[in-house]
């Protein structure tokens, strides 16, 4: 099988994730979509690693996974905090940073 298909899959996953971030209002779903985009990136990295023939891309993907785990911790923590303070779980209504 041709390696380019992996890249196509990665691009599709990224596009789906980006669309989800842009159109959905629930912070939980946005977080899920972000994960999707990160993993699309990981898939691309591993594919490139295979194409070039060394292991650097795979190491990079591992680091991205660590970062993603951290990001989930922070993101979920934020969501729980918002929920506890009985604020609306809707990113369009959480606009306290308006200039």
């Amino acid at each position: 099988m041709n390696l380019e298909w992996y890249l196509v899959l990665s691009g599709l996953l990224f596009a789906i994730g980006a669309a989800g971030v842009l159109v959905r209002r629930s912070p939980v779903v946005i977080l899920l979509c972000l994960e999707l985009m990160l993993n699309a990136g990981n898939l691309a990295l591993i594919t490139f690693s295979r194409m070039v023939g060394n292991q650097q891309g795979q190491v990079f993907a591992l680091i991205v996974m660590v970062v993603a785990a951290c990001e989930v911790v922070v993101g979920l923590g934020l969501i729980v905090a918002i929920f506890r303070r009985r604020l609306p779980l809707n990113v369009d209504q959480l606009r306290g940073l308006r200039g």
Binding site: V21, L22, V23, V91, D92, R95, L97, R98, G99
Partner: protein, 669 residues
């Protein structure tokens, strides 16, 4: 021990005393603080005596010592050291300053006893002594300026000592501002000296000055005039004298120490110290002598009509400093310094006696209300009389020898300088009249209310704490000389201090009787031997003739005062009517305050007001508000992007990346 080691100790004791007393005001009882303050200055005096004895062991020509602790600055041709110069001139000043200071500290120990600010007072007083010693011992112009500014501050702090009194605080500010005018003159003079000669060190400057400047060259005259500005502000000479009478708002020991005996003579010391420069600028020296003469006459006439006891003595101080300025400016260095010493004795004594009387009057200083103190306070009255005799140059008292020596020298120099002798004798007549005017109005006669109470009950009146100048009620804790008053009769420390000064005022002049001993002139000779004027010496016979004239004038003045105030008490009123314009002129102090107000204060205020209205409002405000408006406008333009919608941000991000990616695709293909 070497001379300089003693001199460093002289400096160290008052500084240590000031710091220790200032820091320990919570933990140490005021009595111990007072003893420490007196002891610090007393030890400084003993060290000064040690230095003198060591110095006298050396031959006269080699009695000049320098010592350096460390470098202030040493770079780019600048070499400033924390160094002192001990020579007969500074030794003489150190002895006068520490000696008189010790006695005045002793007097303050009793006088300020019930004051709440006892620690503060002694801390300031010790600091003043340290600054004054730094001023006279400094070995270069930079350290001189440091000491000069320090004494200015100490004077300010002590004038405003009773800080709840509005008159005292404003008098302090006035003194400080006028002194700063003088500081500017001194600093500019030091700058010019450095520019021309390249050094601040006394030795180098005085050695190189004759090669650098020709006589009466513009620069050297400018330097000397700027030095004079400093000297005149500090020594209360025309027209920078108006702060001194106001400075009498401070406690009386302060008036005795700073505004009579020591600080105000700093200008005299400065002229004597820089006599080499003045020798190269005879014009400046003559201007200085003329201003001294003018001051001694003007101040003498004002003292004739002052009804405030301390202010009258303050004008007398200005007048006597006028004599000293004349002396050191025309070349009578020894005589000028001698008069400085005797004046320190009798004027400090006069202030102490006046302080005692003022305390008995419950802080009222108006001589119209005083009379009969001879019966109420015999001890104070005797010493007041002694001080006045010495001030009036009564034969064989200390003032008699010192004043006439200056005038005799002026006569011996001849020519133009004879006007100083004539003017000086007129001043001497005024001095005798005004000093005995005070005596005859305060001491004899029926006891006034307060004196009567003192005779009857043995203690002093406790009047309402009111400011005699403005009539406003005062806080008796701070800002008023305490709820109780202390007069010399009842305190041993004050009696001792006054008795010693009384002895010195009577007999201090005997150290320099013309043709007999001349101790001071001989001691100071090595310092002034390089001056071309040093060779002029009045013959001894002329000296004694001068003394005879002076004695006659003094007795004549005392007789006039007696005639006007005792024999024919109606005379002053008649004279006042006859010479109305003169009287008005004198009572208004020759309108100097008004003139300064009109010529300096009002224009400065007008310029300030104009600047605040135009420059400040338009340019400064314009720049500041312009800058804030710019930032705010720029912010307003971009704030629309900050909508607060997270998804909008995400869209922008994606859109931006997509645009960038598109751009690179197009560029690379």
């Amino acid at each position: 021990m070497s001379v300089t080691a003693w001199a460093w100790l002289v400096l160290a004791f008052p500084l240590a005393g000031s710091i220790a007393i200032g820091l320990s005001f919570r933990s140490v009882p005021s009595r111990i603080a007072g003893i420490a303050g007196v002891a610090a200055v007393g030890l400084a005096f003993l060290c000064a005596l040690g230095a003198l004895l060591t110095m006298l062991g050396d031959p006269a020509e080699s009695r000049s010592y320098t010592s350096t602790l460390w470098d202030y600055a040493n770079a780019a041709g600048l070499d400033i050291k924390l160094g002192i110069l001990v020579d007969p001139l500074s030794m003489f000043m150190v002895l006068v300053v520490t000696g008189v200071s010790t006695l005045i500290h002793l007097y303050s120990f009793g006088y300020m006893k019930s004051d709440r600010g006892y620690h503060r007072f002694f801390s300031y007083l010790n600091f003043f002594v340290f600054s004054m010693l730094l001023l006279v011992l400094a070995g270069n112009f930079v350290l001189l300026i440091v000491g000069w500014a320090f004494v200015g501050f100490a004077s300010y702090a002590l004038i405003s000592f009773w800080y709840r009194r509005t008159t005292a605080t404003s008098a302090g500010m006035k003194a400080f501002v006028i002194n700063v005018v003088g500081d500017i003159g001194l600093t500019l003079a030091a700058f010019l000296i450095f520019r021309e000669i390249g050094s601040f060190d006394y030795g180098t400057v005085f050695a190189k000055a004759p090669e650098t400047f020709t006589t009466n060259q513009g620069t050297i005259v400018a330097i000397c005039l700027l030095l004079l500005l400093g000297a005149f502000a500090k020594s209360a000479q025309l027209p920078l004298h108006t702060w001194l009478p106001d400075a009498m708002e401070g406690p009386t020991p302060v008036s005795a120490l700073i505004h009579a005996a020591t600080m105000v003579t700093a200008g005299v010391y400065l002229i004597a110290r820089t006599h080499v420069l003045f020798g190269l600028a005879p014009t400046a020296a003559d201007i200085s002598a003329l201003i001294g003469l003018a001051t001694l006459l003007v101040a003498g006439t004002i003292a004739l009509v002052m009804t405030d006891l301390k202010r009258a003595i303050a004008y007398s101080t200005m007048s006597q400093i006028g004599y000293m300025i004349v002396g050191v400016s025309i070349g009578a260095f020894g005589a000028g310094m001698f008069h400085l010493m005797t004046h320190a004795f009798f004027k400090a004594l006069l202030f102490m006696a006046a302080g005692s009387i003022i305390a008995a009057m419950a802080n009222n200083q108006d001589i119209d209300r005083m009379s009969g103190f001879w019966k109420a306070m015999r001890f104070t009255s005797v010493l007041f009389l002694i001080g006045s005799l010495a001030l009036a140059a009564f034969p064989l008292t200390s003032g008699f020898f010192s004043k006439d020596e200056i005038l005799g020298y002026a006569w011996a120099r001849g020519g133009f300088y004879e006007i100083f002798t004539i003017g000086g004798y007129i001043g001497a007549l005024l001095t005798a009249i005004y000093s005995f005017r005070l005596v005859f109005r305060v001491l004899p006669g029926d006891p006034c209310e307060e004196a009567r109470e003192l005779i009857d009950t043995g203690h002093v009146t406790h009047a309402e704490p009111r400011n005699p100048a403005t009539g406003e009620t005062e806080d008796a804790d701070v800002g008023f000389p305490g709820p109780e008053h202390h007069i010399a009769e009842q305190s041993a420390s004050m009696r001792i201090a006054m008795a010693v000064l009384g002895f010195l005022a009577l007999f201090g002049g005997l150290v320099q009787v013309p043709g007999v001993d001349d101790v001071i002139t001989k001691f100071l000779e090595p310092v002034f031997s390089d001056s071309p004027l040093a060779s002029i010496q009045p013959v001894i016979l002329a000296d004694w003739e001068g003394l005879a004239v002076g004695g006659v004038i003094s007795i004549l003045g005392i007789w006039i005062a007696h005639y006007c105030y005792v024999a024919q008490p109606a005379t002053p009123a008649i004279l006042r009517e006859r010479l109305r314009p003169l009287y008005v002129l004198f009572v208004n102090k020759w309108y100097f305050d008004e003139a300064i107000d009109l010529l300096v204060v009002r224009p400065a205020l007008a310029v300030g007001r104009f600047a605040s209205r135009s420059f400040e409002r338009l340019v400064v405000d314009g720049l500041v508000t312009g800058a804030t408006d710019l930032v705010r406008g720029a912010g307003g333009m971009v704030r629309g992007a900050q909508s607060g919608f997270v998804r909008a941000y995400a869209l922008l991000l994606f859109g931006g990346f997509a645009a960038l990616a598109l751009y690179f695709l197009i560029v690379s293909s």
